[in-house]
Amino acid sequence: MNTKEIFEDIQGRVSGVAGYEEPEVGDAWIQVDPDHWHSVARFLRDDDKLRFDMCLLVTGLDYPDEKWVVVYHLHSQPHNQRTIIKVDLPHDDEPSLDSVHDVWPAANWHERETLDLMGIQFRGHPNPTRILCPDDWVGYPLRKDYEFPTEYRGIPYERNEKI
């Protein structure tokens, strides 16, 4: 099944499926309502026709003054099919979404990375700490309004004198 067929299939069977979109070029995706995301995720994994048992990638997107988007790339090992799920969040300072680490353990580290670099909180995550940046890092580097720091723990990024 392609993403469109999957969307038509699940639309009536689970609540929270908000829409289907196709970009000008590239892959289509299914839009899911943030409040229902956890139950939809469980449904996608357990339903016999879908069986999306692998979470390949979790990505955070920043559209300033518009929305945060969390993108899930899913893969079904038994059926060899793939789909993309997007969850939109309102663009406020502390976006948060239900964690799906209990549905797909693979999402655990990806969610931590999304928190670390994009600053999206995942509710119910067992270890919501930074993963790539140092623990005392300020700000979220992948946000569009991120300001590059000038020093880290007293170490300047630019040298004033020549060596």
Binding site: V25, Q77, A106, N127
Partner: protein, 394 residues
């Protein structure tokens, strides 16, 4: 956070120092394995909680090589970002170049000539051999066998010379580019590669005599670090890690890209020959057989190259602006599925560049795999994941 019941200081550095000095019982101990440790294959730190010789908890700490390649991808235009992909999985730089180039090409709707595709197949399969040679050599080192490493390095040295001849670089090639490959192969290169493969196949048998069927090595790897099929899928492990657990899955065959559907080759899976399916030996063996299979593909690709149409590169505009859209492409790297997810807003830079590093996902199972193992086995288990920290941290 290690133990929710244990109060920890707020300052992370103090926390690191104080860990292990708290009110834990006397026979338990925290050990920092890494960041500078020969068996962690780079700057990886694994915090082990041990009870005597047995690991009871493991917490991998990564990020020592973090350069935020994804942000760099947003700040540079598409063609300029290409060399940065070399620096992620530096042992398989050609494959990383390919993953990125294919994603951008899909976004831009570029058609790649047949000749360019075959040259790509040849070079990435050779790079797969070079990468697995390191996995083989250093895995021997982990077990305390020094000699196989020198054998592996001898062959890798020859391969690097071949790469140098075709693209001028020995580690970060930037050879596979958007639209094809940078230049066609030089004269006589084909014979050199075929000559190397002849020698390599003989030496491959020597490797097995040296290490694969070595009694001590089998005792160190068989039945150690067993990953079940369910765990494999749940943690989204890919590549040799997945095939080692007996899951017959390879992107090259099951979701074919480029011209992989036109080659004949076998895909090895773990069968539990020396112990249990999914143990360290199985993962090691999958990589060994893959080297041989890659050689087969390279030979077939050279045969097909004789009748191939087109040149080594498609025409790519100098100012490169894909349309608005987004796409994800996953390819079979030596370590698993390497994925690039690019969101384009129609400008010359990517709006969002996301990389799925296979090592990053493969490493995440350590938290589950290490508890219960002996400390010495922890070394073997980390070695069997065959990670490249440049890609874990990106």
């Amino acid at each position: 956070m290690l133990n929710p019941a244990m109060p920890l200081p707020d300052d992370p550095l103090d926390r690191d120092i104080l860990i292990g000095a708290g009110d834990i019982s006397t026979d338990e101990m925290y050990i920092n394995m890494g960041p500078q440790h020969p068996s962690t294959h780079g700057v990886l730190r694994v915090l082990l909680r041990t009870d005597g010789e047995i690991v009871t908890e493991a917490h991998p700490h990564i990020g020592y090589l973090h350069r935020c390649a994804e942000k760099i991808g947003e700040c540079l235009d598409y063609i300029k970002f290409q060399p940065y992909t070399d620096r992620m999985d530096y042992l398989a730089a050609m494959n990383n170049n390919l993953g990125y180039a294919m994603t951008v090409e899909k976004l831009a709707g570029l058609e790649i000539p047949e000749r360019a595709q075959l040259l790509r197949v040849i070079i990435v399969e050779l790079n797969r051999i070079a990468s697995h040679l390191i996995a083989f050599g250093t895995y021997g080192l982990d077990a305390g066998a020094l000699t196989p490493f020198f054998h592996a390095w001898r062959e890798r040295e020859e391969m690097l010379t071949l790469f140098e001849k075709i693209c001028g670089a020995r580690l970060t090639y930037n050879y596979v580019c958007i639209g094809g490959v940078v230049n066609d192969m030089p004269e006589g290169w084909e014979d050199m590669v075929l000559d190397f493969l002849d020698r390599f196949e003989k030496r491959w048998k020597e490797y097995n005599d040296l290490l694969t069927y070595n009694r001590i090595f089998i005792r160190r790897t068989a039945d150690i670090g067993v990953i079940t099929r369910e765990d494999c899928v749940a943690y989204a492990l890919t590549g040799p890690m997945m095939r080692g657990s007996g899951i017959d899955w390879d992107l090259r065959r099951d979701r074919p890209y480029m011209m992989y559907d036109r080659f004949e080759y076998d895909i090895p899976i773990g069968e539990g020959k020396m112990g249990t399916v999914g143990d360290c030996w199985d993962r090691y063996w999958v990589r060994m057989v893959e080297m041989k299979e890659s050689g087969k593909i390279v030979r077939q690709a050279f045969d097909m190259l004789k009748g191939a149409e087109g040149t080594h590169k498609a025409k790519v505009p100098k100012v490169f602006k894909p349309k608005k859209g987004e796409c994800y492409v996953g390819i079979e790297n030596p370590r698993g599925e390497l994925g690039f997810y690019i969101v384009s807003d129609g400008s010359k830079n990517a709006y969002r560049m996301r990389v799925r590093g296979p090592s990053f996902c493969n490493l995440s199972i350590l938290e589950k795999l290490l508890p219960g193992a002996m400390i010495a086995d922890a070394v073997m288990i980390i070695g069997s994941t065959d990670i490249v920290l440049g890609e874990v941290d990106r």
